[in-house]
């Protein structure tokens, strides 16, 4: 009985020693600069990626695509090229967003879109254009603190910022709102 206990103890000790010294893909005695450079690199590269998210009832709530995604483990962010985001509110009403670049912050579930940003309401055909927008995927809202323009047919509204609730389909635009409604040709 005593011999078995000793054998188990030795085995555990060996495993602990091994895990202390062996770290996959990196030597433990690397200098801090190397470790920092390694952590600054993307841990994962994905091309033509798409992810879906469903609610507890199995209804699709959102989809996120990108032509390229680089995941950085330490910061828990993914840098996206040509991200496209689709939000479904469960009543067959959807919004679509796209941009040249984006950063997805996994913990906060926030998607920051940059450069040629479009947000379109697929039901009404209204399209919002701006250069920077933050999408909060938890509460399905979008905000911009830079000039935005909404176009619907020939009509436009522009302002120096906006906050949108995608579930309520309401957009508050401010400040400095300028709007044009074009009379239809009769």
């Amino acid at each position: 009985m005593q011999k078995t206990a000793v054998q188990v103890f030795v085995a555990i000790t060996l495993v602990l020693l091994a895990s202390y010294y062996w770290s996959p893909g990196g030597s433990p005695d690397a200098d801090p600069a190397t470790v920092a450079r390694r952590q600054a690199l993307a841990q994962t590269y994905l091309y033509d990626t798409r992810s879906w998210e469903y609610d507890e009832d199995g209804a699709l709530t959102e989809a996120l695509e990108a032509s390229r995604a680089e995941y950085y483990a330490r910061r828990k962010v993914s840098e996206l090229t040509q991200p496209r985001f689709y939000s479904h509110d469960g009543n067959d009403r959807t919004w679509s967003a796209s941009a040249d670049r984006g950063i997805y912050r996994h913990r906060a579930e926030v998607l920051q879109l940059r450069s040629s940003v479009n947000l379109s309401n697929d039901q009404t055909g209204g399209v919002l254009n701006t250069q920077a927008m933050t999408l909060n995927l938890k509460n399905n809202t979008a905000t911009s603190k830079v000039p935005v323009t909404i176009t619907q047919g020939p009509n436009t509204i522009r302002a120096d910022g906006m906050e949108a609730d995608l579930n309520l389909e309401r957009i508050v635009m401010k400040p400095n709102v300028e709007s044009t409604y074009v009379a239809p040709r009769t």
Partner: protein, 171 residues
């Protein structure tokens, strides 16, 4: 002006709330609206856009102001009311609560509500309270009409009054 209705509607404001589901946009704070010679100034303007066309516009203020030049050779028409509702396709303006319409020739109509038909240049005033509808037409304006031709029917721009109490008193 007759061509106002073909002009685009320009609106500026401090803030706008756009409801994509219900199809309206509420402008608030220093709201200025312009369509050709027609101008509206109010604290709050709601534009209803069922599909794309801004077919109905509701301006609210204390009061909201509207002005327009009916004809190139005529003076401005000024309107005030707590709510001004503009029905673009019908070319009709409905003024409600403390409503008044005044022309630069001094003629003025006040009442609880006034309906103004832009293309026909007709004003229909209503009043349900004691004040009744009040129509003021300056003497020289009346004199000018009589000199023209007394037997001719009233030109465009006649005023219809409907009021429960009191005949309109013209000075």
């Amino acid at each position: 002006l007759p061509e106002d209705r073909a002009q685009p509607i320009q609106i500026s404001a401090d803030q706008a709330l756009r409801d994509e589901k219900q199809g309206f946009t509420v402008y608030q704070g220093n709201v200025r609206m312009q369509q050709g010679s027609l101008q509206i100034a109010a604290q709050r303007v709601t534009v209803f856009h069922q599909v794309e066309e801004a077919d109905r516009i509701l301006a609210e203020g204390s009061p909201a102001h509207m002005q327009q030049r009916p004809e190139p050779d005529k003076g401005l028409m000024h309107a005030r009311a707590e709510t001004i509702e503009y029905f673009k396709s019908e070319e009709k303006v409905l003024l409600r609560r403390n409503a008044s319409i005044e022309r630069e020739d001094g003629s003025k109509v006040t009442g609880d509500s006034i309906e103004y038909l832009i293309d026909k240049q007709q004003i229909r005033a209503n009043s349900s309270q004691s004040g009744g509808v009040v129509v003021n037409i300056p003497a020289e304006t009346v004199q000018g009409k009589e000199d023209a031709d007394p037997n001719q029917p009233a030109e465009q721009g006649e005023t219809e009054q409907e009021g429960e109490r009191g005949a309109p008193d013209s000075q």
